[in-house]
Each structure stands twice: as structure tokens, then as C-alpha cells.
């Protein structure tokens, strides 16, 4: 249910002016201000989350508000657990309100594995502050010092058992706002986590299995029209002329042209598409590199100016150390453009009420989308509300709000609610991809396997997990971004996957040259106890006993450190007489600090591993002359049941550490582990993702 609309978005309204109690009912609101209150949404730089608030109602309801979006990661349930544990109430007493820009705290976006580190800290802190306020209210009510009281199961009770008062009685008929200090004391984990047992069931599970859960694409409004957007025939093409005469005659069709935007609305999706087919557009196309030229294109077209995603490290003298090294290796690794393929395609629905618009959209960046809609339609940000309903997955592919702006424009022109949804082909062509990358690596060390030199340069892949977790005294590591001919953007663990693929394959190549076991070589060079712990656990669980080097079977190993989480994956593969590859088993050990919701964490790791398998083996966007060649699910292969190996997951709990991100890191060791296993089985070293797009290992080594 969408809550009633405040006069202005609460994140842009002083706390004292927010209509918390008109909209949520009487009770207590605890507010954690943004970490730097002077840096509000109106000024440039912002902290990643704009604080948090919680409402404890006189009706007994507890609602916690965060700007993070739930697109299937299970964050809602994890945050529910965090809040309920701090407030000492059963999990199902807490409702988490997410990603509604009118009533939720400002948030940068749901990406970079920040939901648990940021939102769980903010909501945990504000919940602890709310509990302290409730205890002090009870102290006044009962005439008992606060230190003699404790919060238990939704009550405040005196430790001697004589006094007891329920939360809702403490806040009855009050309109009380309490400001929580950012250092409000969090309690140690209130309930021990039992691995393998659900901490909280998804209360909406019954809606999911009966089809009642209404996803973005399921929403309908009275009088709703269907919109569609004109897209260029090839990437980079510019519209030079537009003839709308045939469309103007079609009854019930409204065309909107504003700047580069051309869209239309009609009574049904087929009507809209048929009308769009009548639009005569003339385009100025620009030459586009094909797959053969793409690598040299990326190498020679650096992105200038806005190079935000860059990192580098220079340590010692890598060139001199390479020259001195007893063993050296050099190789170039490549990763293809990959599509996210969320099962629900992009969809937005916009509806106006006077000068104000509400857009329901499946996006990972609702606040950025709000600003984009306001800028696109030239209206105040305060007049735009963006709400993220249940969304059929994202994986980093649902940033931004192009369809939100399109739907809002069409709805304004028609004075009717308008829904715009991509079909699958549009999803492939007009969303964006994980960047292609090219990575040059040189490594050197001694015959015992000790690394001395590391030179690593990534073109267009991004900077995440660029730096090695290995102790190497001489390093030169950097990355550059390119002007990509294909649209590229965020993707689950995007740069970490490509950087880790290159690094962990190179380490395996170095190990092979020295003759040292890849496990022993990593232990010798790793500099991180937590990473060593997951590696040991994976080795123990898988029964790794070194390379097997038997014909047709191979084992491979890889580790990864990213977003403060650690992973180790061991792959077992078979390669048959026709050189067809089958991944038989993937053992993954994973550690992301304190575990909040074990079954969901396990599901996240399993899902990441299988998604990693697709990118490792066969996923690639094929393109020529600025056009995607495989823009259908029958042509772009994603993992199916028949691809599923035996997936084993070992979760390691570190209750002494805060939870770190878990949705991305578990996939980054999959591709190198599989590639290393294929090398073990065949002696063929594969250095390009996907490793086996045809399903078969080539006869000769790929340089």
C-alpha cells in the first residue's frame, strides 16, 4: 500500500514540519539525522544514506523507513530482523517501508553491496534510540529508574517483575518525535543466529506463491494508457527528421516530442507498437566497431573528464623486480559485454494529480530517478514521487529512470495514467550492459612461488577489486575507462568479476610455471587472515588434493576479496571426448561478517554462483555495426536447470564484525575457478570470458 502523500517529500522537509502523525497515526517517531545534516539533498555531495526513521504507533504497528530498494535481494527481511532485534519485538511486528521518495530517507541507490552495511547500521541505530526513548518513557510512567527497566517482547518491564507497560501504551495519543544520536548504543546481537534455520519467514511468501504479489508490471490504474518510446536503429544514431503525419490520424494515439524524446501512448501495447511502426524517422548513423575491432577501439578511446571509477597503486619498482624474477608470466585477459536479463523487464507507470506526479517503477535508484523526472519535465523535485513496488530483479541493471521520465511525459500529455514497459527485445537493446574489458597482466617471482612483481592494467572494466589481496612488494596496478560503443553501466560485482578473473587466472598460470600447488601458492602469498580462512574452509569441504591432471577431469581454485567480504570457490569440471565442458561441482566458502538471515544469505550465495557460471561459460552480447545480434532469450543463453552443477555453500559467521555486502562478492571466484579447472583437465588455458561460448574447449591454446 502506498501511504498518503505528504505536502513535500520528508527528506526535503525539516523534521518539525513532517506530517508523521497525520499520515502514520499517533505514536513515537525516532529520527536519525543524516550523518552530515548540513549536506542535504539540495547541496552537491551527500552521505550515502540520509539517516533513518521509525514510527512506533499507538495501534501497536512499528514501521521502519529506508531509501534502499528491494528488488529481490531479501534486504527487507534482513532489515526487519535488525530493527525487531533492537526493539525487542517479534520480527513480524515490524514493517519495513522502502524506496518511496516522499516518505523515506534520501538514499544514493541500491548498489555496491551497501544495503546491509549502510541501512542496517542506520536502522539498527535508530531502533536502539527508539528503544531507549521507550524505556525512559516507562521510567517516568512507572516511577522506576531506567536502569532497573528492560525492553522485552514489546514491553518495558522492571527487572524485579513488578512493573510492566506495553510500547503502544507508552506512546498512546502522543505525537512525540525523538532525535537519535548517531552513536546510540547498539546492543550485541540480540538473538543467536542458528545457521540453516530461518530467522524470519518472508511474511509475503503466500502472496508470491499464489500470484497475488503485484510487481511493477502488474500494476493497473483506472483509465491507464500504454506508452512506447522511439529508439534509434543503431547505437549513437541521431534523429534528423520525423514525420508523424500517419500517426496523427490514428484515433486514440497521442504523440509526444520533447527534445530528443519521442514517445506515444495508446489504449493497448499492440496499439502503441503498431502506431510507432507508422512513425517515419530519419537517422544520422555513425560508424560503430564490431566484435573484431572492439578491443583496439576500447584501448584507443579513453574516457576523458568524468573518470570517476579509477584506482591505482604503485609500490616499489615492478619493472626492475620483473627483470630480476626467476619465473615470469604475461597474458592478456578479456571479458565480454554481458546482459543482466532481469526476468521482469523495465517498467514504469506514471499518474498525475494536479501539478504533482507519482511514478511507480522498478529501479535501484529511486531518488536519482526522482531528480531525473523533475529535470526532464522541468518541474520541482518536490512534485515528483517515485515508488518502487515489488520488482522482478535488477542485478545492477535497473539504475536510472529513463522510463519514469517517458511515462511521466506521456501521462502529462494525455492527462491519463500511462504505463511504459520494455518487451524482452527492448530490454536487450536499450538497457545497458556489463562493460567489456581487456586486462594486461605481468607477474614475477621466485621458483618457490613467492610473488615479487605484479603489473596489472584494466581497460574499461572498472576499479572494484583492482588491487591484489596478495603480498607483493613491487606493484603497478591501474585501470582506465573507455568510450564504449555499446551502452554500459552497473552490473552485479561488475569490475570485481573481471579483475578477479584476470588476477586469479594469472596466479594459476604463475603457479603452474613454478610447479607449486595453487592452494599452497596462495597460502604463501596471501595477506588477509579472513581470506585464508575461507580458502581453507573451501579446500576442506571440497576435498581438494591438488591438481588431478587426469584426462577429462579437472579441479580449479580461486579466491576473492571485495566489499569487505571474502570468498573462495573450487570448481570440478569434466571435458568429454568431443571437448564439451560440464561443470560438475562448485564449492564456495563465503564470509561477510555477522550473518543476519542465514537462509537468505545462502540463497544469495547460491544465486550469485549460478549467475557467475553463466558469465563464466557462455553469456555474451553479440553485436555488429551498432546492433545487438542476439536480443532474444532464445539467442542469449542464461543458466538453466541443465547447467546446474552440485552447488555447495559454506557460510562462515563472524558475529564480532558488522555485516558486509553479500549479494555480489560470492560470484567473483566462479569464472577463474572454472577456467583453472578446464586448464587442469585439458592443458588449454582460456583467457576470455565467456570461456566456452560454443560449449567446447578449443583444440589449441587461445593466446
Amino acid at each position: 500500500m502506498t501511504l498518503a502523500r505528504p505536502a513535500r517529500p520528508w527528506d526535503r522537509t525539516p523534521v518539525a514540519d513532517r506530517e508523521y502523525f497525520d499520515i502514520l497515526g499517533p505514536g513515537l517517531v525516532a529520527v536519525l539525522p543524516p550523518r552530515k545534516p548540513e549536506e542535504t539533498a539540495a547541496s552537491g555531495w551527500q552521505p550515502p544514506t540520509g539517516g533513518a526513521w521509525i514510527h512506533v504507533g499507538s495501534d501497536g504497528r512499528i514501521r521502519a523507513f529506508t531509501g534502499k530498494a528491494e528488488v529481490g535481494q531479501g534486504t527487507r527481511t534482513a532489515l526487519q530482523i535488525v530493527v525487531a532485534d533492537e526493539l525487542r519485538v517479534p520480527h513480524d511486528r515490524v514493517e519495513v517501508v522502502m524506496a518511496d521518495t516522499d516518505v523515506c530517507p534520501w538514499d544514493m541507490g541500491t548498489f555496491g553491496s551497501r544495503s546491509m552495511p549502510d541501512a542496517s547500521r542506520a536502522l539498527g541505530t535508530v531502533a536502539a534510540g527508539a528503544r531507549e526513548t521507550l524505556v525512559s518513557l516507562a521510567a517516568a510512567r512507572l516511577g522506576t529508574p531506567g536502569v532497573e527497566l528492560e525492553a522485552v517482547e514489546g514491553d518495558v518491564r522492571s527487572r524485579d517483575g513488578r512493573g510492566r507497560v506495553e510500547y503502544q501504551d507508552l506512546v498512546r495519543d502522543q505525537n512525540r518525535v525523538a532525535t537519535v544520536a548517531p552513536d546510540a548504543s547498539r546492543s550485541p546481537r540480540a538473538r543467536p543466529v542458528s545457521l540453516g534455520r530461518p530467522a524470519a519467514a518472508d511474511s509475503a511468501a503466500a502472496d508470491v506463491v499464489t500470484g497475488r504479489r503485484a510487481f511493477v508490471s502488474d500494476l493497473r490504474r483506472p483509465g491507464m494508457l500504454h506508452g512506447t518510446v522511439l529508439h534509434p536503429p543503431t547505437y549513437g544514431a541521431h534523429l534528423t527528421a520525423l514525420d508523424l503525419s500517419s500517426v496523427h490520424d490514428r484515433p486514440g494515439v497521442t504523440v509526444v516530442r520533447e527534445g530528443d524524446f519521442v514517445g506515444l501512448a495508446a489504449s493497448s501495447p499492440p496499439e502503441a507498437r503498431a502506431a510507432m511502426a507508422e512513425v517515419r524517422a530519419t537517422w544520422q548513423e555513425v560508424p560503430q566497431p564490431g566484435e573484431r575491432e572492439i578491443e583496439s577501439h576500447l584501448r584507443t578511446h579513453p574516457l576523458e573528464g568524468d573518470a570517476w571509477d579509477q584506482d591505482q597503486k604503485i609500490l616499489g619498482d615492478a619493472e626492475a623486480a620483473l627483470a630480476r624474477s626467476q619465473v615470469t608470466m604475461q597474458a592478456t585477459y578479456r571479458t565480454a559485454y554481458v546482459a543482466h536479463v532481469p526476468l521482469e523487464t523495465h517498467c514504469a507507470l506514471a499518474e498525475w494529480d494536479g501539478p504533482r506526479v507519482t511514478v511507480w517503477i522498478g529501479t535501484q535508484t529511486p531518488f536519482r530517478t526522482r531528480e531525473a523526472v523533475a529535470a526532464g519535465l522541468k518541474i520541482p523535485v518536490e512534485d515528483v514521487r517515485v515508488v518502487v513496488p515489488p520488482t522482478g530483479s535488477g542485478f545492477g541493471g535497473k539504475h536510472g529512470g529513463e522510463l519514469a521520465t517517458a511515462a511521466a511525459r506521456l501521462a502529462r500529455a494525455t492527462e491519463r495514467p500511462v504505463r511504459v514497459a520494455f518487451n524482452r527485445e527492448e530490454e536487450f537493446r536499450y538497457a545497458y550492459f556489463r562493460p567489456m574489458s581487456v586486462i594486461d597482466v605481468r607477474a614475477g617471482g621466485d621458483r618457490d612461488g613467492r610473488l615479487a612483481a605484479w603489473v596489472f592494467h584494466n581497460v574499461n572494466g572498472g576499479s572494484a577489486a583492482l588491487l591484489p589481496p596478495y603480498r607483493v612488494p613491487n606493484q603497478r596496478v591501474d585501470n582506465e575507462l573507455s568510450r564504449s560503443p555499446l551502452p554500459q553501466g552497473s552490473y552485479r560485482a561488475l569490475a570485481a568479476t573481471t579483475n578477479n578473473f584476470a588476477r586469479e587466472t594469472a596466479i594459476d598460470e604463475f603457479a603452474h610455471l613454478t610447479g607449486v600447488d595453487p592452494f599452497a601458492l596462495r597460502l604463501m602469498n596471501l595477506d588477509d587472515d579472513r581470506l585464508v580462512a575461507v580458502l581453507r574452509r573451501a579446500v576442506e569441504k571440497s576435498g581438494w588434493s591438488g591438481r588431478i591432471r587426469s584426462s577429462g577431469k579437472g579441479h580449479g581454485l580461486a579466491v576473492g576479496l571485495e566489499k569487505n567480504s571474502r570468498v573462495a570457490t573450487i570448481a570440478e569440471v569434466s571435458v568429454d571426448a568431443q571437448r564439451r565442458v560440464r561443470v560438475d561441482r562448485l564449492v564456495t566458502a563465503f564470509e561477510a561478517g555477522a550473518i543476519v538471515n542465514p537462509p537468505n544469505l545462502r540463497s544469495q550465495v547460491e544465486g550469485a554462483v549460478v549467475m557467475g557460471l553463466g558469465g563464466a561459460l557462455f553469456e555474451a552480447v553479440r553485436f555488429a555495426a551498432g546492433v545487438v545480434q542476439n536480443a532474444r532469450l532464445s539467442q542469449y543463453r542464461v543458466p538453466r536447470f541443465s547447467d546446474l552443477p552440485k552447488v555447495e555453500v559454506e557460510l562462515m559467521d563472524r558475529p564480532d564484525l558488522p555485516p558486509s555486502g553479500a549479494g555480489e562478492t560470492p560470484m567473483i571466484a566462479v569464472a577463474p575457478a572454472i577456467g583453472n579447472a578446464i586448464f587442469d583437465a585439458t592443458g588449454c588455458r582460456l583467457r576470455t570470458l565467456p570461456l566456452v561460448p560454443s560449449g567446447r574447449v578449443p583444440e589449441t591454446e587461445v593466446p
Binding site: 508470491v208 499464489t210 504479489r213 508490471s217 526476468l343 515489488p390 530483479s393 518487451n423 537468505n600 547460491e606
Partner: protein, 163 residues
């Protein structure tokens, strides 16, 4: 496209509709009947999100022209629970939380329901084969496999209780 009269029996209810007989059953279920539990994923029968039953047989409703349904009874995910009681597949998916975003779940549940009707105790290989045409992008299939196994057990317990 030409308009025609189409009679459809969906989840036990009769509907008389005037529409293009070439329109997909999926579009008619979602748009005309408002049964949005059945999902659009690809429009070419590759993802299984739109799976419904025709006289108990699973079909991709995006590939079925509504005019071809004839007298066969359509069962969608909304029609699986009887009197508010989840069927064993739904119960198992809910109990084990065998989904993340849940968008593929209706198609998975419908397809697995059809499997267990024909084969109450499928092997792992048979489960994988039956669900090969249903894509899940989130949870890596492992949980779904476990849920179908659990559903098979729940159904067996249900049969024992009734006998």
C-alpha cells in the same frame, strides 16, 4: 486481426469475451481478466514465466492464441489454492522461501504442480527435466529443486492422511 467471440473457462469460471482470436492467452489472462499472477518474461516461450495449465497440461500461454484454447479449462497460479489452502507445491515454496524476487515463482509452481500430478515422486533428474524451460535469475535453482522435493513429500503425507 478480426474480432471474435471467445469462451474461456479459467479457474472454474466461465468468461465470454469479444476479442482478436490471435491474441495470446497470456495477454488475455493478464489484461482482460486481470489475473496478473501469470507473468510476461520473453514472449517466445523461452522462460516459462507465463506457464498455465490447459486441462492439466502445462503450456506457455504467450505461445497459445486465445482462439486455440477451445473447450480446454485454463488453470492459472491463482487457481491452484483451494478454499485458501495452498497446494503442496505452493506450501513447499513458501515454507522453504524458494525464491528471491518471486517473479518466476508462479510459472515454477504451475509447472511443478503439473509434474507432481503426473509423477508424484519424481527423481532429481525428472525435476530438472520438467523445469528446464523455466528460468530463475535470482536463486540459482538450488532452492527450487529442494522445494519440489519437499512438495512431493507433502503431497505423499496428504495422501496418507486421506487414506
Amino acid at each position: 486481426m478480426t474480432l471474435g467471440e471467445v469462451s474461456l473457462k479459467v479457474n472454474g469460471q466461465d468468461h465470454g469475451l469479444s476479442l482478436e482470436r490471435e491474441r495470446s492467452l497470456l495477454a488475455v489472462i493478464r489484461t482482460e481478466l486481470g489475473l496478473t499472477g501469470t507473468k510476461y518474461g520473453c514472449g517466445e516461450g523461452e522462460c516459462g514465466s507465463c506457464t498455465v495449465l490447459l486441462d492439466g497440461e502445462p503450456v506457455r500461454s504467450c505461445q497459445v492464441p486465445v482462439g486455440d484454447v477451445g473447450t480446454r479449462e485454463v488453470t492459472t497460479v491463482e487457481g491452484l489454492a483451494k478454499n485458501g489452502v495452498l497446494n503442496p507445491v505452493q506450501q513447499a515454496f513458501a515454507d522453504l522461501g524458494a525464491f528471491q524476487c518471486g517473479f518466476c515463482t508462479p510459472g515454477m509452481v504451475v509447472r511443478a504442480t503439473a509434474l507432481l500430478q503426473n509423477n508424484p515422486q519424481p527423481s532429481e533428474v525428472e525435476i530438472r527435466q520438467a523445469l528446464e524451460g523455466n528460468l530463475c535469475r535470482c536463486c540459482g535453482y538450488v532452492g527450487i529443486l529442494g522445494a519440489v522435493r519437499r512438495a512431493s513429500e507433502l503431497a505423499a503425507e496428504g495422501r496418507r492422511d486421506r487414506s
